[in-house]
C-alpha cells in the first residue's frame, strides 16, 4: 500500500466508486461539492454558472475515475479538475462577468473582520453587508484568473500554499508571489476598508 493510501481519507470510498459503486461516488459528491462550489463561485461570481460548471466537473471526475491512480489525494485530484475547468470556462467567457451572488450568512456579523470594521472610527467603514459583498466581488473580478485562483484558495478557503502548488501544478514560490501581487492589487481596490 502506498503512502498516499495511508494519508488519503477517501481511499476506500474512491476504491469502491472505481469498482462501480455509484453510492460511493454519491458520497464523494456530498463531501466535496460545498468546497468545490465555493471555489467555482468565488472565481465566477455567478451562482448559475457555478451550478452548471459543478455538474460538469463531477461528471468529468466520474468518467475519469478509473484513471485516478492515487498519486495524490482524491481531494487534490478533483480540486485540480475543478480549477482547470473553471479557468478554461473563464478564458472562453469573453463578456464581462454577469454577477449573480449568493446570500450572505448572518454569521458574518460575528466575524473578527466585520467586528473590526464595525468598530472602525471611519464611518465609511461601517458599511452594510451587501455593500461590502459588492465591493469584495468587484475587487476579485479585477484580478486576473490566475491571481483570483490563489486568493480564492488561500484567503477564502484556507488551502495551504503547498496544497495550492500541487493543485495548480506550480511551485510554492509561484503561489506566494501570485498572492503577494494579488494582495497589492486588492489593497488598491479596498483602500477605504483598510486602516
Amino acid at each position: 500500500m502506498s503512502h498516499e493510501e495511508f494519508t488519503d481519507p477517501d481511499h476506500e470510498l474512491v476504491r469502491r466508486a472505481q469498482n462501480g459503486e455509484t453510492r460511493a461516488f454519491d458520497e464523494l459528491v456530498i463531501k466535496f461539492s460545498p468546497k468545490l462550489y465555493g471555489m467555482v463561485y468565488h472565481m465566477t461570481s455567478n451562482k448559475e454558472d457555478t451550478h452548471d460548471l459543478l455538474q460538469d466537473i463531477f461528471a468529468k471526475a466520474y468518467r475519469s475515475l478509473k484513471r485516478f491512480r492515487g498519486k495524490s489525494t482524491f481531494y487534490t485530484w478533483i480540486y485540480s479538475i475543478a480549477t482547470n475547468m473553471t479557468l478554461n470556462f473563464l478564458k472562453k467567457r469573453k463578456r464581462r462577468a454577469t454577477w449573480s451572488l449568493d446570500n450572505v450568512e448572518s454569521g458574518i456579523q460575528n466575524d473578527d473582520a466585520m467586528v473590526d470594521l464595525a468598530h472602525s472610527a471611519n464611518p465609511r467603514h461601517q458599511s452594510n453587508v451587501n455593500e461590502l459583498q459588492q465591493k469584495l466581488n468587484e475587487a476579485m473580478q479585477e484580478l486576473s484568473e490566475d491571481h483570483r485562483a490563489v486568493v480564492t484558495m488561500f484567503d477564502i478557503q484556507g488551502v495551504p500554499h503547498a496544497e495550492i502548488s500541487r493543485i495548480l501544478g506550480v511551485t510554492e514560490g509561484t503561489v506566494r508571489s501570485r498572492l503577494f501581487y494579488a494582495h497589492k492589487q486588492l489593497q488598491g481596490y479596498l483602500e477605504e476598508y483598510i486602516r
Binding site: D102, Q133, V151
Partner: protein, 129 residues
C-alpha cells in the same frame, strides 16, 4: 506579513459567508444522479444499436464481403468527389475566351465537291438519312 496584507486577507475571507440556499447540495446531488442515469441510457441505446448492426452484418453470410467491399467503394467515391469539389483549380479570370470570328484577311477554307460530296446538288430521292 504586514498589517495591510493581514487586513486584506481577513476581508477576503469574509467571502466564505456567501453560500447557496439551504437544501441546495441535496438538490444538486439529485440532479447529478438524474444526469448520470440519462447518460447511461444514452450509452445503452448506442451500444444496443451497435450490437444490432453487428448481428445483421454477421447474418449476411458470404455476401457480407461483397456488401463490405461495395460500402468501401462507395465511401471512397464519395470521398474523392468531395475532395475534388473542395480542391477545384481556380479559374483565371484574366483569360479572354477564344474568338471564333475569322480574321478578315484569312481566306475562306476551300472545299472540293467534284467527287460528288456536295449533297445539295443531288435529288432528294438519292439522299440517305
Amino acid at each position: 506579513m504586514n498589517n495591510s496584507e493581514d487586513q486584506i486577507q481577513k476581508l477576503m475571507s469574509l467571502k466564505r459567508y456567501e453560500t447557496p440556499s439551504d437544501g441546495y447540495f441535496e438538490d444538486f446531488l439529485e440532479e447529478f444522479q438524474q444526469r448520470q442515469r440519462q447518460e447511461l441510457l444514452k450509452k445503452s441505446s448506442l451500444s444496443l444499436l451497435s450490437e444490432r448492426v453487428g448481428t445483421w452484418f454477421r447474418e449476411l453470410g458470404s455476401i457480407k464481403w461483397v456488401a463490405g467491399a461495395g460500402a468501401a467503394y462507395a465511401a471512397l467515391t464519395i470521398g474523392f468527389v468531395l475532395y475534388s469539389s473542395t480542391t477545384a483549380p481556380e479559374v483565371n479570370q484574366n483569360i479572354t475566351p477564344a474568338s471564333f470570328e475569322r480574321a478578315p484577311s484569312e481566306p475562306l477554307p476551300f472545299v472540293d465537291f467534284q467527287d460528288g460530296q456536295n449533297f445539295r446538288s443531288q435529288p432528294d430521292s438519292m439522299r440517305e438519312f
